[in-house]
Structure formats: structure tokens, C-alpha cells
């Protein structure tokens, strides 16, 4: 068993150890692997908002000098969200008379699917990713940019002016904020030369100094710009103009009730985690703890031949570290929400187009020129204190990106995915 559990590798494993020569078992194996991943990600997608909404209420309570939920489920009210969910499912599914019924019913699903789809390419650890796309970061940004369509349709089809204003604001805001978000995400990508988030994670092994946020001055600034822009792009306060309660009743979801309303919120909290996860991978060291513990464990497992179980355990620890980092960024977004007042819509647009966009373009240019600058100043070095990027990649952890067939003694046939694609695509 290899450390990767991406769908392709899992399919390969299933094919070899469980299924035998059976006509078309390549696709059976791939289906099994896909189902496993769908269930895992759906579980995370369902549980994470549950926890985050509870956390949001506790944080809001503490910041406003109250207790927040305390009763449901014992001491800390930790079952409050579940109770809320049960209540929402029981509510009547209303549809206004003026609404465009088909679009009104479809748009929550559009938001949900876009947010859920982004998790296909988000790694939860060293190779713990559904589909290890080479363009993983690009894919995540693309799918999260689809969320705005659902919100706009929800606002337009509700047949209510509050909802329409909310939808229009959302469209203007998100389309503008996508640009600095993508540019800021590219700043660490310039340093690593890879869009694959697992690979970007490998570049940050070996201590906190190797985290990409400390790579150069530009990535350091880019992290804060990215985080601001990401907060705006998942329409969180102080940029939650689409649902500004004080002006627009509830913005784009004014007319929604029950389970459809809760889809919007599941998607919102899941996207908060998704943008935080991107930030963790691009700037904050991915699944590495920053003190060399994961690297030490890795080396120990390799040297003592603990096999796949050891590697798997290390990966689970890495997964816990990644989720902890992502959750703390989500917590930070909540902290900001309950601390800062909401901006006006013109201020939101001005912040993006007049300040954040030029800043991110400058950072992009600077990050491009920085290695050349260092190279000319220091007679050929591209990094002053640390090992150069190319040496840092993979070096503390040779097993991390070993070819999939390393664990087999005999020369390995094409992986299962290749078998499926070859068998059905090229020769069919």
C-alpha cells in the first residue's frame, strides 16, 4: 500500500488485492474507489459546517460577552446545530408566487455542487486527495467561482427586490474579487512552480522557515491580501453585502426556507474551509507541523520499515494538523466577522479595484523578479538563508513522491486508471 489514497491509487489497490481477473473489473475497482471518496468527502462536507456553525455561535457569544448555546447536548451546547438542522428539515419548503419556480428550486443545488466540487482537488494530507490533479489549485478556484452563479440565480428568481439587490451585489463583488484572489494564489505558485497542492505541500517540509509565507517578502504580504480577498469571495463579514441584514432583510436568500436555505449555509461554511485549506497549502506549510515532527516520524517509519501502516499513521497525523490549521483560519474569519463593521457596497468595490488589485499585481511582479534580483546580487544564489527551492523539494521525504510501483518487486503494469482509460478510451 502506498501513502497516496488518491482515487487512482485506491482503485489500483482494490484491483490488485480484492478483485481478480474479471471482465471489466477495472471500472468496478474505480467505482469502488470513487464511492469511498464520495462518502468520505460528503461526510466531511456535512460535519464541518455542523461544527463551524456551532463554533460561530460560541465565538459570537464570547465576543459579545454572552455564553452562546449552552443546553442542547450537554455542557457546551455542541448539539445545537444538529437540533437546528432537524428543525430546518421539518420546515415547509416555501416558494413565492412571483418566483421563477424552476430556477428558484435549482439554485441552492448549484451553490452546493460548486462548493462540494472544490473538495475533489483539496488534499487533506500527503496524498489524501480524491483526484490528484496536476492543476489542483486552478481546479479549486474554478469550481468555487461557480458558486456565484447559484447566488445570482437565487436572487433573480425569488421575485423579490431585496433578493435581486443581494444577487446583483454578489455578482459584482465576487467577479471583482476573483481576480486578486487568483493573482495572490499565483504568488506562492511562482515560487514552487506547481499548481498541484500536494506538490506545493512537499516544498514546505523541514521546519517553519520553509513555509512559503516566509519564502520572500512578497509571499508574506500575499498571504494577508489573499486572506482578505478570500474572506470577501466567500461573502463573509465585513464583505457580506449580499446578505446585509440591516439593509436587505436577508439578501439573496430572503425568500428561502427550510432545507434549501440550509444548503446555502452548508456551502458557505464549507467554502470557508476550502479557501482556508488553500491558504494553508499555499502559505502555511500544508500538513507539516513546522517543528519537524512529521518529517522525523516519516524518516523513522522509512528507516525501521514500518510498512504502509506506519506511513498511513503519519499521514493521519498530517491530516489532523492540516484540519487544525484550516479550522484556526476559519476561526480567524469568524473573529473578524464579529469584530469589524460591514463596509458599504461602494467601499467594497473600491477596496478591491483600487487597492487590492494593484497590490496583488505588484506582488505578482515582485515575486517574479525576486529570484532574479537575488541571483544577480548574490552571485548565483536564489535564496539567502535556506536551501534553494529545487533542493528543498522532496528531499526530507523520499517516500512521499515515490513512484506508485515502488512497493512491488516485479515491474509494475500500468496503474488501474491507465488500464481503465486505455481499455475504454484509446482502443474502443
Amino acid at each position: 500500500m502506498m501513502p497516496l489514497i488518491a482515487a487512482n491509487s485506491l482503485a489500483e489497490y482494490v484491483l490488485e488485492s480484492i478483485l481478480w481477473d474479471f471482465p471489466g473489473n477495472g471500472s468496478v475497482a474505480f467505482t469502488i474507489a470513487a464511492l469511498v471518496h464520495v462518502v468520505l468527502i460528503l461526510t466531511f462536507f456535512g460535519v464541518a459546517p455542523l461544527v463551524f456553525i456551532w463554533l460561530e455561535r460560541k465565538v459570537a457569544g464570547r465576543i459579545q460577552d454572552r455564553l452562546g448555546p449552552t443546553r442542547v447536548g450537554g455542557r457546551f451546547g455542541w448539539l445545537q446545530t444538529l437540533a437546528d438542522g432537524v428543525k430546518l428539515i421539518q420546515k415547509e419548503d416555501l416558494c413565492p408566487a412571483d418566483a421563477d419556480r424552476m430556477l428558484f428550486r435549482m439554485s441552492p443545488y448549484l451553490v452546493f455542487v460548486a462548493s462540494f466540487g472544490a473538495f475533489i482537488a483539496l488534499p487533506f494530507g500527503n496524498g489524501f486527495v480524491v483526484q490528484n490533479l496536476e492543476v489542483g489549485l486552478f481546479f479549486m478556484l474554478a469550481l468555487m467561482s461557480l458558486e456565484v452563479l447559484g447566488v445570482v440565480f437565487a436572487g433573480y428568481s425569488s421575485g423579490s427586490k431585496w433578493a435581486l439587490f443581494g444577487g446583483m451585489r454578489e455578482a459584482a463583488q465576487v467577479v471583482s474579487y476573483e481576480i486578486p484572489m487568483a493573482i495572490c494564489a499565483l504568488v506562492p505558485v511562482i515560487a514552487t512552480g506547481s499548481l498541484n497542492l500536494v506538490e506545493v505541500g512537499h516544498f514546505q517540509a523541514g521546519g517553519m522557515g520553509n513555509w512559503l509565507i516566509f519564502q520572500n517578502p512578497f509571499t508574506f504580504v500575499a498571504f494577508f491580501v489573499y486572506f482578505t480577498v478570500a474572506t470577501a469571495s466567500v461573502k463573509r463579514a465585513p464583505f457580506d453585502l449580499a446578505e446585509a441584514e440591516s439593509e436587505l432583510v436577508a439578501g439573496f436568500h430572503t425568500e428561502y426556507s427550510g432545507i434549501r436555505w440550509s444548503y446555502f449555509f452548508m456551502a458557505e461554511y464549507a467554502s470557508m474551509f476550502a479557501v482556508s485549506g488553500i491558504a494553508v497549502f499555499l502559505f502555511l506549510g500544508g500538513w507539516y507541523d513546522g517543528f519537524g515532527i512529521i518529517e522525523t516520524l516519516d524518516r523513522f517509519v522509512l528507516d525501521n520499515g514500518c510498512g504502509w501502516l506506519g506511513q498511513y499513521t503519519v499521514n493521519v497525523i498530517g491530516l489532523a494538523i492540516f484540519i487544525a490549521k484550516g479550522t484556526s483560519l476559519v476561526f480567524f474569519q469568524m473573529w473578524v466577522r464579529w469584530t469589524l463593521p460591514r463596509l458599504r457596497i461602494d467601499q467594497v468595490m473600491m477596496t478591491c479595484l483600487k487597492y487590492l488589485l494593484p497590490i496583488s499585481c505588484t506582488l505578482f511582479l515582485g515575486a517574479t523578479v525576486w529570484p532574479l534580483f537575488l541571483h544577480s546580487m548574490t552571485a548565483g544564489q536564489t535564496d539567502i538563508i535556506r536551501a534553494p527551492m529545487g533542493d528543498r523539494a522532496y528531499s526530507p521525504r523520499p517516500a512521499a513522491v515515490q513512484p506508485l510501483h515502488k512497493s512491488h518487486s516485479a515491474p509494475h503494469p500500468a496503474p488501474a486508471a491507465a488500464i481503465i482509460r486505455e481499455g475504454s478510451g484509446k482502443e474502443a
Partner: protein, 100 residues
Amino acid sequence: MDLSSYLLVGAVLFVAGVVCMATKRNGIGVLMGVELVLNGANINFVAFANYTRLGLDGQVISLFVIVLAAAEAAVALAIALSFYNNHLTIDVDQANQLQG
């Protein structure tokens, strides 16, 4: 799947786009027809890139098509908005001032 199934999907998109361009009276509807046509062409390019020796060139061309379609949509939308500002409609049949 073989090449011709992908080409047939591209053909359906192309025809739908042409019909959309011809029948819609809403200016933005016409624009959507153009997007469908371009996308049908893109499917053909990528299909040829995968199945024949065209290789990467097909993907490069389809990327150019996507970029230029975005640019075209921006300009067309600006024209539609400008037309709407002057005529309070985007019915393309009303754009007949140059008929003399």
C-alpha cells in the same frame, strides 16, 4: 469511446448554437448562440487532440478559443448595454437605423 461520438456532440452544440443565433430576438440570446458554436468547435479540437497526432496543439487552440470568446462576450455585452441605453430594448430587430 471513439472520436466520432465526441464529434457528434460537437456537431449538436454547433447546430444548436446556429439555430439559437438565427431565432433569438434578444441580443444576449444571440450571444449565447455564439458561445454554443465556439464550444462545439472546442470539443472537436480537444477530441482531435486526444485521439490523433494533433496532440497538444489542439488543446492550445481551444484555450485561445476560450480566451477570445471571453473577450468577444465582453465587447458584445458592452454593445448590448450601449444599445439598451439608447433604445431601452435589446431586441435585435429594432437595430435597423442603418437601413436608411
